[in-house]
């Protein structure tokens, strides 16, 4: 299985409610992008509006063409509401 990687995906706020989890480990083919993770594993459960949300990889804002690596920490950032 050396062609597979595993990324930790974090969920907050109502995204965590929809996933029924704050953290999920997702197996992906090597070379997968953040966009592929979102489209294949997250969108079905987070809803189509999640396409417009922000995402981070290893605590830095990331674009959807970002290539993921084994052990990366991906976070799903729904619209923030601090203050």
């Amino acid at each position: 299985m050396d062609q597979n990687i595993s990324v930790t995906t974090l969920f907050f706020s109502f995204a965590a409610d929809r996933m029924n989890a704050r953290e999920v480990s997702v197996p992906l083919p090597k070379g997968s992008t953040l966009g592929q993770l979102i489209a294949e594993h997250l969108l079905p459960r987070l809803g189509s509006e999640s396409q417009d949300w922000l995402f981070s990889v290893n605590q830095e804002w990331a674009s959807k063409d970002r290539i993921l690596h084994d052990g990366d920490e991906v976070a799903v950032i729904p619209p923030v509401s601090g203050g």
């Binding site: 706020s13 981070s56 976070a75 950032i77 729904p78 509401s81 601090g82």
Partner: protein
């Protein structure tokens, strides 16, 4: 001195006063955000603040650096609480010190605006009737 911090502890305005004290600064502006007893007309008992702690702290540091680069301020404090806060509790503090008042007001206003727009923190309203809703949750409206 600057402070940019996420915290579970109560916000201490006196800590901020000490941090930004500077004999070259004639102006200090503070903004405190607090948990209100209602939201959009509905009675609330408190708010749970969820956060992506690591990125939220990095973003607070980034905003603090921006404020110092863009405004003529010498010190900045940005503190945001996480966890369950009852009505009346301070959830966020912005404090800046500068030579004169116009830049102090501008920087403090920008500070809270950028925190609310960018820092990965989320509010869950604990309604007085016992139910909960996440702010900005589209499905909470149905």
């Amino acid at each position: 001195m600057d402070i940019m911090r996420l915290t579970e502890a109560p916000i201490d305005v006196n800590e901020a006063l000490a941090a930004i004290a500077d004999p070259a600064c004639g102006a200090q502006a503070f903004f405190l955000g607090l948990v209100r007893n209602e939201f959009e007309g509905r009675a609330s008992a408190g708010i749970f603040y969820d956060a992506y702690v690591g990125l939220a702290e990095k973003e607070l540091v980034q905003i603090g650096q921006e404020l110092k680069a863009e405004f003529d301020i010498r010190h900045v404090v940005l503190i945001h609480r996480v966890g369950d806060l009852p009505v009346g509790t301070a959830s966020v503090l912005v404090a800046v010190a500068s030579g004169h008042r116009p830049e102090a007001f501008r920087a403090a206003r920008e500070g809270i605006d950028r925190i609310k727009a960018r820092v990965p923190i989320w509010k869950q309203e604990h309604w007085a009737n016992g139910t909960d809703s996440w702010h900005d949750d589209p499905s909470a409206l149905t």
